[in-house]
């Protein structure tokens, strides 16, 4: 082992606690990256598994690119094609089971299932369904259902048991006629005859998928291509995509978590930077000695870098292991919920090589990068330092140039903020953050003096000494406070963002939702394929005494280019009676224009992404190929602001996308009619539609608000974890300060300071730094929050900037608690120093 590596290793082992704390920071960042990177493939694999498993069994599996149903005559066309030996059609859709009658699986009700309709006589030769008990598929009657062995065992189902399934006409009862072997990883499915499924799902004369077997000896890829050419661009000849909209959602949800992991790694980088900076100060004499003995600058640089590398490697390896463990833990916790809510099995996937590479690059690379600057500083230590009596480093003067540039950038930042222009505000924020770091060493003393006045009330003497110490080590103190600033700024910014989003959504609900009631499935599945209700439901509800209007929304899915687009089918005549839109282009009259064929209103998010304007033509992919729609408005309502969406008439949705069932019904009461008087009657009507529940709009609004607040609280818990590195940084700095001042502390004890007074001195210093970090952090955080909210608005998302009072309060509390916590160990160490040996300390 070279002298460089030996020294690096020995120094690390000598300060085990510090090495462990620093490594913890790396472990934390890497673990988050790995855990989040691992969960996404698991979730997407689960979403695609059922579809992929079918691909293995057949030569081609035909579906539409959007997974929307298509006309049944496609099957006839496929059967007629050259090279096709057998073809079997199926229809499938998700059904939300009524909580009261849903079968239980592991003690939890299964809230949704996939209902699959099979061609009795054609399915087995093409894609056999293995029935282990009961009737084979070809003997199924209209009311028979086959369920999986898992469902049989979990829900204790017997042959002949009834299974109530919501249908477009209300509900339908099937009887268990047999059990099929469970396909691993597949969606929880139940099988009925094709006509029964079409009737239940409201997909008469439509199919979701056609499975094909080719004749012996044909060129499979060429035949698949021929099928695609014949059917048009709206189709896929192998179902490898799965539910792309759900996958989109999973990816969207996972992105912030991965970003969180990267943020944690940035914080870890800070810790490493600070640790090594303090290491350089602490070892100044040793470094000088090495230089005096003939170690070149490169040798010293290598030694410190190797230390960072060693920490990075250990931290990364541990982080990967912890991350995989975290992922497995979350998956095992999520699996039952995923199974009951989405109907899919979650099986952990091996961690992707890409994720591991990212973790290694971030963990090892980040560690080495973070210690490079301190290592360079170390290599520049003069050999004369070896001759100098120790006693801490001398006061390093603050560079005037640094201060000048910092002030200039700070002023630029403020000017940027007051311009009100997003781009300038963003540049301003960046300037301000850099300014905070630059003016830190100069401003730390006046800032701490502000807080010292508060501290004087409880610990006047200690506060004075602590402030003196901060002033003596202003560079190090300002970096420590900066770490706290960054961590707390992120909390405040995210709190501002979340608060603003909740407020934005709620105010949009208030502006755009005029209906008194909403009738919807208990769980709204994303995209197409969920069973809805026929127009009878809305008709039945509008016939209730006191109801002014009951109008429905229908949901479909399409693609425009490579973009998934949600489709919302509305009744152009009735929609404005129950709802409104925030129009960015167009007027409320635009809704009426939807009655014209192939017109749509884009939501702002999609419009921003494509840059589309009024009267532009946009292409939507239908099962019959692409069609052009004319844009008659750009506007938002509360239901579809998060994903690219388009509003079109229900007639267009039916004509081009074969969707004719309602997924949501708005009910508005006549003037003066109280909702209590009508509610009972509405609920009675809904008994025939067990797949739907009634919600008062204000009740739903309150639920949204409540859900949002719960998410906010959960986020705070998560964010507290982000501040952990700041805690380590603070503890590290205080620890080093104590090490440097051993003789001084010994002197204090010798002249009469009690152990308690010494502890309070360290605590006071920690609190001062934490308070300064929090003050600046709150300011920067609000600024970043404002910019993010404004950026969201500019992208068409709904948000109204609100100052997160609870977020600021949480931040202040976190700062004080962590400030106190960080001081515990260093204060203990300082107070327990032996006076005589401390006085002799070099």
């Amino acid at each position: 082992m070279s002298a460089t590596t030996t020294l690096a290793l020995r120094y690390l082992l000598r300060r085990k606690t510090r090495a462990a704390l620093t490594t913890t920071a790396i472990v934390f960042g890497v673990a988050l990256v790995v855990a989040m990177g691992g969960m996404v493939p698991t979730l997407t694999a689960s979403l695609t598994s059922s579809v992929l498993s079918s691909v293995e069994q057949v030569d081609a599996s035909i579906s539409t690119t959007t997974q929307a149903p298509f006309p049944a005559d496609v099957l006839t066309r496929v059967r007629a094609m050259q090279g096709v030996k057998l073809a079997s059609g199926r229809v499938q859709g998700m059904v939300s089971l009524p909580a009261k009658s849903a079968p239980q699986l592991n003690g939890k009700p299964i809230v949704s299932l996939q209902l699959v309709g099979l061609e009795r006589d054609e399915v087995d030769p093409v894609r056999p369904v293995t029935v282990t008990e009961g009737k084979p598929v070809k003997e199924l009657s209209a009311d028979d259902v086959l369920v999986s062995e898992t469902l049989r065992d979990g829900a204790k189902l017997k042959l002949g048991d009834a299974l109530l399934v919501p249908s477009v006409a209300g509900s339908r009862t099937f009887h268990v006629a047999g059990f099929v072997s469970t396909r691993p990883g597949g969606i929880e499915s139940v099988f009925v005859t094709l006509p029964a499924a079409q009737e239940t799902l409201g997909l008469t004369a439509q199919l979701s998928q056609v499975d094909v077997r080719f004749s012996e000896g044909v060129d499979a890829p060429a035949t698949r291509q021929a099928l695609l050419t014949a059917l048009g661009s709206g189709y896929l000849a192998e179902a490898s995509r799965g539910n792309t909209q759900l996958i989109d959602q999973v990816m969207r949800a996972a992105m912030p978590m991965q970003a969180f992991g990267v943020l944690a790694m940035v914080m870890a980088g800070f810790i490493i930077f600070i640790t090594f900076r303090t290491v350089v100060v602490e070892r100044r004499r040793d470094l000088g000695l090495l230089r005096a003995l003939g170690a070149s600058q490169r040798t010293v640089l290598a030694m410190v870098t190797v230390e960072g590398l060693l920490l990075g490697v250990v931290g990364t390896v541990l982080g990967i292991l912890v991350g995989i463990g975290m992922e497995r833990l979350v998956i095992s916790g999520l699996a039952p919920v995923w199974r009951s809510q989405v109907g899919l099995v979650l099986e952990p996937q091996p961690t992707a090589l890409k994720t591991l590479l990212v973790a290694v690059v971030l963990g090892v690379g980040g560690s080495v990068l973070s210690c490079l600057a301190p290592a360079r500083q170390a290599s520049r230590v003069s050999p004369r330092e070896a001759m100098r009596p120790s006693g801490g480093d001398a006061r390093v003067p603050v560079s005037r140039v640094r201060l000048g540039v910092g002030i200039a950038l700070g002023v630029l930042g403020v000017v940027g903020l007051i311009t009100g222009v997003l781009a300038w505000q963003s540049v301003g924020a960046l300037c301000f953050i850099v300014a905070v770091f630059l003016v830190g060493p100069s401003s730390i003393v006046p800032l701490t003096s502000v807080f010292r006045r508060g501290l004087d009330v409880v610990m006047a003497q200690e506060g004075k000494l602590a402030q003196g110490n901060v002033a003596r080590q202003r560079h190090r103190s300002s970096i420590t406070a900066s770490v706290m600033t960054v961590a707390l700024a992120i909390i405040v910014a995210l709190a501002a963002l979340t608060n603003s989003t909740i407020e934005g959504v709620v105010s949009q609900i208030d502006r755009t939702l005029g209906a008194d009631f909403m009738v919807m499935p208990p769980t709204m599945m994303v995209g197409s394929g969920s069973v809805g209700a026929s127009a009878d439901l809305a008709r039945s509800l509008s016939a209730v005494e006191g109801v002014d209007v009951a109008t429905s929304l229908r949901m479909g899915a399409s693609r425009s280019g490579t973009q998934n687009v949600s489709l919302v089918g509305i009744d152009p005549q009735a929609y404005l009676k129950v709802a409104a839109m925030d129009f960015e282009a167009g007027t409320p009259e635009s809704v009426g224009q939807l009655a014209q064929p192939r017109t749509l209103i884009m939501n702002a998010l999609w419009a921003k992404q494509t840059g589309a304007k009024l009267q532009d033509q946009v292409e939507l992919l239908t099962p019959n190929g692409p069609v052009q729609y004319r844009v008659v408005g750009i506007g938002n309502d509360v239901l579809n602001y998060r994903v690219p969406s388009a509003y079109l008439s229900q007639a267009s949705l039916q004509q081009d996308f074969q969707v004719d069932s309602d997924l949501l019904v708005f009910v508005d009461l006549k003037q003066g009619v109280s909702s209590q008087s009508v509610r009972a009657e509405l609920e009675q009507r809904l008994e025939a539609w067990p797949g739907f529940i009634l919600r008062g709009t204000s009740e739903w609004r309150d639920k949204m608000l409540d859900d949002g607040r719960k998410k906010l609280n959960a986020m705070y818990v998560l964010l507290v974890v982000l501040v952990v590195p700041a805690l380590i940084a603070l503890a590290n700095t205080l620890g080093i300060n104590v090490l440097e001042r051993v003789r001084e502390i010994g002197l204090l004890r010798a002249i009469g300071s009690t152990q308690r007074q010494v502890r309070r001195l360290v605590l006071a210093e920690s609190l001062l730094l934490a308070c300064v970090g929090a003050l600046v952090g709150i300011g920067v955080g609000l600024w970043l929050g404002l910019i993010t909210v404004r950026a969201m608005e500019s992208f068409g998302l709904v948000a109204t900037f609100r100052i997160p009072v609870s977020g600021i309060a949480t931040t202040a509390v976190i700062a004080l608690v962590f400030g106190a916590l960080a001081a515990v160990l260093p204060a203990r160490h300082a107070s327990r120093l032996k006076i005589v040996s401390a006085l002799r300390h070099e």
């Binding site: 020995r10 000598r14 003995l293 003939g294 170690a295 070149s296 004369r384 070896a386 001759m387």
Partner: protein
């Protein structure tokens, strides 16, 4: 024969009103096998002179020539090599690397020069045994007494076979018996091993072990004389020091 020659060395620390002139034109020549003690009151420039002779610092004016090498013209890399191969340092506070054992500390200058650990530790062991520390080779610095630590530091300074040994208050942190031991050791290095030794010290008793005495005051040499072994050099040095101070 001249080993190292310093000519008109000037060194000033800080600037403006707070400027301190540590050396104000010092010229000094050391020959092979010389054992020179440098004395003088605090702040007279003793340590600064040692730093400049050892290539630890650069003068504002003047030159230092070690053999045929002009140190003041060498870059950092060149100076590093000179320190590594031709000069040994001994410090007042021993300055052993706390995380390394005695033998590793002694071997360090060699391993820094790319010598394999086994060869370097073999040489280190020879020096440690020569200095009476054969039974302490694997001890960490904090397991050794002050005198033992200083002997380890001297072994480290000698392991590269340097032509010049520079010692800055080598007995400053030792009790009188250990200090005498170290003084005798330095003298024997000069007498028996023909090493050139320059020692900065405050202690007249230790300075008396040298063969030549240089007095510095206010950054200039005020006296430079050979010491006779037959006289009571310790009291002579003390009285000389008092006269000059």
């Amino acid at each position: 024969m001249a080993l190292i020659t310093a000519t008109q060395l000037v060194k000033t620390y800080a600037e403006g009103a707070t400027a301190v002139r540590a050396l104000a034109g010092v010229s000094l020549t050391l020959n092979e096998g010389d054992f020179v003690a440098v004395m003088g009151p605090s702040g007279c420039g003793k340590s600064t002179l040692l730093h400049l002779l050892g290539g630890l610092d650069r003068p504002d004016a003047g030159t230092v020539k070690l053999g045929s090498d002009e140190l003041t013209t060498l870059d950092d890399e060149g100076l590093t090599l000179v320190r590594r191969r031709r000069i040994g340092f001994v410090f007042q506070s021993f300055n052993l690397v706390p995380v390394m054992s005695a033998i590793e500390n002694v071997a360090l200058p060699l391993t820094l020069d790319g010598v394999s650990a086994s060869v370097a530790e073999g040489k280190a062991k020879v020096w440690l045994e020569r200095l009476g520390l054969g039974d302490r080779v694997n001890h960490l610095p904090d397991q050794l007494s002050g005198g033992q630590q200083q002997r380890v530091a001297i072994a480290r300074a000698l392991v590269t076979e340097p032509v010049l040994l520079l010692a800055d208050e080598p007995t400053g942190n030792l009790d009188s018996k250990s200090a005498d031991d170290i003084a005798r050791l330095l003298r024997s290095l000069s007498d028996e091993h023909r090493r050139t030794v320059l020692m900065v010290t405050h202690d007249p008793r230790i300075a008396a072990s040298a063969r030549r005495l240089v007095f510095l005051k206010d950054g200039v040499i005020v006296d430079d004389q050979n010491l006779s072994a037959s006289l009571d050099t310790s009291s002579k040095v003390r009285s000389q020091l008092e006269a000059l101070s």
